[in-house]
Every structure is written in structure tokens, then in C-alpha cells.
């Protein structure tokens, strides 16, 4: 059994490597270089396009992993009748309140700046809930290691995505780093341990919402890329 677990972990590691190989590119170059005044920057400079590409890759992978996590969770914990109901007892996604465009026409009308801001907002608002999700998942008895690993990984990558977006904003928009002011909309902490089913449903909702938001991030960034490269064709539609 010991060996079996080790092999399983190896396999998971392999799967992870396959999935996350683009991350190796981003990891090698820290996106956030702190420049001291007067000193020569030690960080290797990266072009805006490449940075944007990497950020997009990041977002793509995050979305894919979140989709897999959601599916895993659904198969593992959620009973059949409740699987496709998005509106559970008035549950809303935490990012509902954010002023994010929700239709293509809307998105096409907003500016680049606003696109980036939207992305940043989303990323920043999800960092903490994912950490919280980790703790709740650990409470489950038979949560598969794969699920736990994935959620863990996602929360880590989200942080690096945030960094990238910040740098990108700096480069593209010549703006200073925005403080994470959006986390205040954060999660409601439960002092009392909720019931199992409730907890499960809540976590399920959480994952679904995150999956959707990840997709949003990806889409926004891709649109942004199109705008960067070919302004006229992209805007036309």
C-alpha cells in the first residue's frame, strides 16, 4: 500500500507536470521585480507581449484546473439531484457585487484599462476564499488527494497571476500597483460548523463560482491581447 501511494503520487506529479508546463516559463522569471531607486534592476526585462502571453497561459491553466476540481468535487460529494442547480438557496457568488461586464457587447465597450482592472479584481477577490476552501476540504474524510492538491495549486498560482497582472498593468497602463481593496468583500466566516450537506453545497457553489470567474479572467485577457495586437479587427463586431 505504501508503494501504491507513492506511485500514485508520482503519477499525479506527472500529470501536474504535463498540465502545468507553461507555468515553468513563468516561474523562471519573477513577474514582480522590485526596483530600488538608483540601482540597476536585476530582474530581466520582459516584453509586454510575452508577459501578456504568459499571463494568458496562466489564466488558461487555472481555468482548466478549476474545472477539473469542480468536476471532481461534484462526483465525489454532490448528490445527483443537486448537481446542476446554480442557485442554491439564494447563494450568490462572492464576486457578484463586482462591477464586471457580463456580456460581450458590454465587454467590447469597456476600455483596456477597465479590462485589466476587472481581471485584477477577480484575482484578488479569489485568493482568500480558495485558502479557506482548502481548510474546509481538509475536513472531509475522504477528499481525494488529487482534489486537495489541485485546489492548493490553484491558490498558489492565483497569487502569481495577480503579480503578473500587476506588472502588466504597470507596463501597459503606467499605473502604480493598486492595493487590494477588493478583498473586503471577502468571505463570510462561519464560526459554527455547518451541517455536512450544507457545507458540501456551499463548497460546491464556491468551486463553481470560481470556475466561472476563472473563465472570465481568461476571456478578458484574451480580448485584451487581441486589442493589443490588432485593434481594429477586434473591436469590430
Amino acid at each position: 500500500m505504501h508503494i501504491y501511494k507513492k506511485i500514485k503520487k508520482l503519477l499525479q506529479g506527472g500529470v501536474w507536470a504535463l498540465l502545468l508546463w507553461p507555468c515553468l516559463l513563468t516561474v523562471s522569471h519573477p513577474l514582480d521585480c522590485k526596483e530600488e531607486q538608483g540601482s540597476i534592476s536585476r530582474c530581466p526585462t520582459i516584453s509586454q507581449e510575452k508577459l501578456l502571453d504568459r499571463v494568458i497561459q496562466h489564466a488558461e491553466v487555472i481555468y482548466r484546473v478549476s474545472e477539473e476540481s469542480c468536476t471532481l468535487f461534484e462526483e465525489m460529494f454532490v448528490p445527483f439531484p443537486m448537481r446542476l442547480q446554480r442557485n442554491q438557496a439564494g447563494y450568490t457568488c462572492i464576486t457578484k457585487a463586482l462591477p464586471i461586464p457580463s456580456s460581450k457587447s458590454e465587454i467590447q465597450q469597456i476600455s483596456d484599462t477597465w479590462l485589466l482592472h476587472s481581471v485584477l479584481m477577480l484575482v484578488q477577490s479569489w485568493i482568500e476564499p480558495l485558502v479557506y476552501l482548502q481548510t474546509t476540504l481538509d475536513r472531509y474524510d475522504d477528499a481525494p488527494d488529487l482534489l486537495l492538491n489541485k485546489t492548493k495549486w490553484v491558490s498558489e498560482k492565483l497569487v502569481s497571476l495577480e503579480q503578473g497582472v500587476v506588472v502588466l498593468m504597470k507596463k501597459m497602463l503606467d499605473e502604480g500597483m493598486l492595493t487590494t481593496a477588493y478583498n473586503e468583500h471577502g468571505l463570510v466566516q462561519y464560526d459554527v460548523q455547518p451541517e455536512m450537506l450544507e457545507s458540501v453545497l456551499r463548497d460546491y457553489m464556491l468551486l463553481s463560482c470560481f470556475k466561472k470567474d476563472a473563465h472570465k479572467m481568461e476571456t478578458f485577457l484574451k480580448l485584451l491581447k487581441c486589442r493589443q495586437t490588432d485593434k481594429y479587427n477586434c473591436a469590430l463586431y
Binding site: 488558461e60 481555468y63 482548466r64 474545472e67 446542476l84 442547480q85 446554480r86 442557485n87 450568490t92 457578484k96 457580463s102 456580456s103 460581450k104 457587447s105 466561472k212 470567474d213 473563465h215 472570465k216 476571456t219 484574451k222 480580448l223 491581447k225 487581441c226 479587427n233 477586434c234 463586431y237
Partner: protein, 648 residues
Amino acid sequence: MRRAVGSVPLLLMLFFIGHAKETRYSPPGKPKLTSCRSPEKETFTCWWEPGSDGGLPTTYALYYRKENSDAVYECPDYHTAGENSCFFNKNDTSIWVNYNITVVATNALGSNFSDPVDVDVVYIVQPHTPENVTVTVMEDKDGPFLRVSWEPPRKADTRSGWITLIYELRVKLEGEEEWEEHRAGQQKMFNIFSLRSGGMYLVQVRCKPDHGFWSEWSSTTYIKVPDYFPRETSVWILIAVFSAFIFFILTWILNLKSNSVKHCLLPPVPGPKIKGFDKQLLKNGRSEEVFSALVVPGFPPTTSSDCEDLLVEYLEVYTPEEQELILEEGKDLQEGCLKSKGSPSDSDSGRGSCDSHTLLMEKCGEGEGKEEKHQERAQKGKRQQKHQTGWEEGDVSHTREDVLSPDMSEGRVKTWPSVFSPLPQYSSRPLDHQGSLETARQLCLSDSLFPPPSTSSHLSYNAKEGLALGSGQQEFYLGKKQTHPSNPQSQPRWHLQAHSDFNISSMDRKQAASGLQLPGFRSTEYVEVQRVNQEDMVILQPLFSSSCQRDGHLQIGQGEDYSKVKGVDSGNMLLLQREVEVKREEEDGDRYSCDIQDRVTESCYTTSTAASSQVTGKPTSCAGTAMPVQEEMVLAANGYVDAATMLL
């Protein structure tokens, strides 16, 4: 009037009710939303399935509610997408927003709500099929390949990155059942290799967003591959030719060496070498006869035998008178042996040695027969054949013991079997060259003066010693046998086996130690090698003149002691050494002849594998009288029978 007007609806209602009662109208059945799809993530359509209409015209209405909003809206467009559908255009479509959709069926009698369905446009995207699928044949150094290219569906906005599509294509040969599927990722072009020359291929493409459903397969595109010669085939042909070539060479070699291969794989089955075993009888199926033939009467030995007997060496010599009898008839010989063996108290039977497998010696018919049998291969001479036939009968019926059982006397000296090697070995080796045995020839020395007991024991002892010395060496052993003078018919046989390597010294030693010293055996008779016949058999001849025992009462004044083997020379000649000790009996005529014989033998003691004529010629050359003697051979001159001559 008003009353009339007012009564109309009442009448109508009555009418309808009456109708309803007759045709059983009912409220509509429950409609069901079957699917909602968005082709490009910008608009979407929902379809429903109406339930029973209850016999009345039923209207359907779709209502939706957006996520987290209580406002209920009705479907904006019922017609664009066809019947029982609702089309949401761009303005009404919100992405990443949950729609709660319900369909209501209404007829005059009532309405029915369907189950609500939650829809998020992002997850219901199913694009149209890819367009402009083109397949071309391209040439490469390895052969032709197919290049498939296509374009995304028109409405999907992949250019701006709004929607990311991944593609998949499938190929199959015309006539096959299984498609070969390939994932093409986000690229819009794909190469297919390893084509069958002259084949007709079918290609189809489809696409899917990274979060959604697969589109339908595009319409089939046909492409024909031109004929070409694949490189792989030529390599295979080369390999096939080469291996065929090697195969032919191997079979040819195998053919050449078929014999040795056969020997290697299927070693020849040795045939039965059992004395008295007759294959024919076995084939005839009469097992009783076969086995009866094998039965040797008198086995196992019933008569008592001493241990000493086993070690006794015998040199059997038989008297001339008996010789003819014995020689001519195998049976007689046997009998003779038997007779001569008459003494009941036969401590010297030497049966054991006879019995032992390693016994090479010949005893009467037994040794003879064995010899014959074993020597069949080695010596094939007419003489032998005759002799064999003559002996065979006797052989079959006599065992060694029989031969031995006519216990000549204690003084028998036998060649120790182990010295010479076991019979089969014996048969093969010595017979090959040294003419070790002469089947035909049996010499029996009679020894009159031999005090049996002492000598026998002596002999036995000596024999042992001799054996010890001689083991592993090929020794030529002459044994002496003493026959009772009273047993004229004793037929000692003396069997000489000569090997290529002689160890004279040991021989001498043996003799010395054994007290087989010739001097001590005044009475013994010695055998000299008279000649070697054609079959390389050493023909022995009793040596001393005094042993001209024609009459049987020879006194042995062994003048010459030829029992010593000097050695074997390179010409495979058995060299006997003569120790001269003159002591001759007086029998002039014989003596003379014996002397002459002696002389003759002296000078002609060397045996050779040369033609017997050489040997035979010797006596003639030596002495004239020897010739006639020669003719009769041993018979005449010294009473020894030269079996070879007999056979001649």
C-alpha cells in the same frame, strides 16, 4: 337585446362545456425544455417539447429569470429558431449569468408549467462545424502525405479571443469501418502520413470550445492518394530476400552434413548384444524362444566356488588328441572341457572370473563364443566364421562357468579379465589391432606337473597382483593352465590378448612375484606365439619341445619358456621372450621337431600383423621338417593345435 347579447357567452360556454364533455378536453400536458444551445457564446436558443395539448389549442410561453434578480421576462423571439423554440439575441444574452427558464403551456382549460432549468450561456456553447475543409496531397521524401486545413465556423469569434476552439479530425480509408481520430488543438491545419498508395480517404473535422460541446462533424471530403512505392516495402523485400538466401545456404549445409547432424540428433540405437539373443525370434513374436535362448544353464553358479577361484588365472591348454575333436565340434569341445573338468572338488574352477563381465579370457566354448561374439566386429575372417559357427552352439549353451567348470586343475592359469578390460571393451580395442584374440585359435596348455592347490592359490594371488599391476596397462598375460594328464580331453584354452602397450616389466615382476616364475613351473607348458593370422590374431603355440604332447603324456621339460612377453613393438607385434631353460624330454622325433620348432620359434618368435603366410613361412624356412609340422601345425609337432590352421 342586451339580454340576448349577454346570453351569447353563456350559450357559448354551455356549448363548449357540452363539447368538452363529449370530447374530453383537458388542460395541457407538461412541456419539457429539451436543450438550450449557443453557437458562438453571444446568442442562444432554447427548445422545448410540448406535452399533450388536451385537445385544445395550446399556447406556449417561455419565461426566464436572471440570476439574483426577481424580474421575470418573457422570451423575446419565438420564431427565429423555429417552432417550440426561443431565441435570445445578443442584447438579451448575458454571459456568466444563470438563467432560470420555464415554459408554460396554456389552453382553455388550464396551463401547465415545465420544470425550471438553469442555464449559463458559457456552458452551453456548441459551435457550428468547421468550414472550408480542404485536403491536399503533398509530397515528401518519405512519400506522399495529406494536408488537411479548415476554417472555424463563421459565427464563432475566435479572432478576438472571445471564444477559443479546439479541433479534431478523423480519417478513414474507403471501405473501412474504423475512423482514425486526431486532435489538432487550436491549429487549423493537420498532416496525415503513412498513406496507402492508391487509396481513397475520407476526412472530417469538428470543433469544440474549451468549455462546451463538440460540434457536428463536417461534411466528408474525399481524397485519392496517387500510387507510389513505399520505401518500407522495399526494405522489407530486401530483408526477405536476404533471409531467404541465408535459409537456403543453411539448408544446403544441413544437407551436406546430414549424416553428422543425424548422428548428433538421433544417435543410433545400439542393438542388443546379448549373447544368444536372436532378433528374428523376437520379431517373430515368440518371446519364449527368445528368452529361452538366453537362458544359460547353470547360472547362477550352483557349485561352490572359492574366493580364490575368482582370482585364479588359468591358461588352458588342451592336449593334441583332443584338439581335433574339440575343434571340430563345438559341442565336443564343450564336453571335453566338461570332462576335463571332471574333478569334483574343483577349487580351481575359476568360475567367478569366468562369470565376471570383465573376463576376457576364453574358456572352452565360452570364451570362444564370447570372443566370437565380441569379436565379430573386429575379426571377420572366414576362419573365425567357421569357428564361430562351430562354437556358437556350444557357446550359447555354455556359460563361462561351464567352461571353467571343467576344472582342469588348480593349476589353471587364466588371464585375468580385469587386466584386459571388460568384454565389450575387449572386443573393441584389442581386437582392433593387436590381434589380441584369435577366436579360432585355442590353445590349451596342459600342465601335468602343476601341484594344484599351491599353485592355484599362488596363482590366484599372483593373478591379483598381476592385475593390480596391469590395470590400466595393456598387459599381455599369459596364463598357464595345468591340465591333468589324466584329462586328455581337457581343453584348456588359452587366450591371448595383446594390447598395444605392453608392460613387460610389470609382467616380469608379476611373474616373479607370483611365483609363476617359469623356473618354478617346470611342468608348465608354454605357449609361444606362432604367428599372427590375417585377422591379427596371435597364434600361439606351445613352445617347449618337451611339450610335444601328442600322446598326451608329455613331460614338460620346458626348455624354453615363452611365457614372457617381451613387448609389443611398433608393428603391433607381440614379442615373446624366451627364457631358455633347456630341459627336454626325450622324444626324439618329436623332440627334434620340437627343437626345431623351438628354434623355429626362437627365430621366429616375433609375431606380426603381417600376413599369416609370413609366419607360416617361417617354420618352413627355418627347418624343413618344420613344414610338414607346420601344416599340421601344432598338432603334429608339439601336440598343439593350431586352430588357425585348422580353419585354414
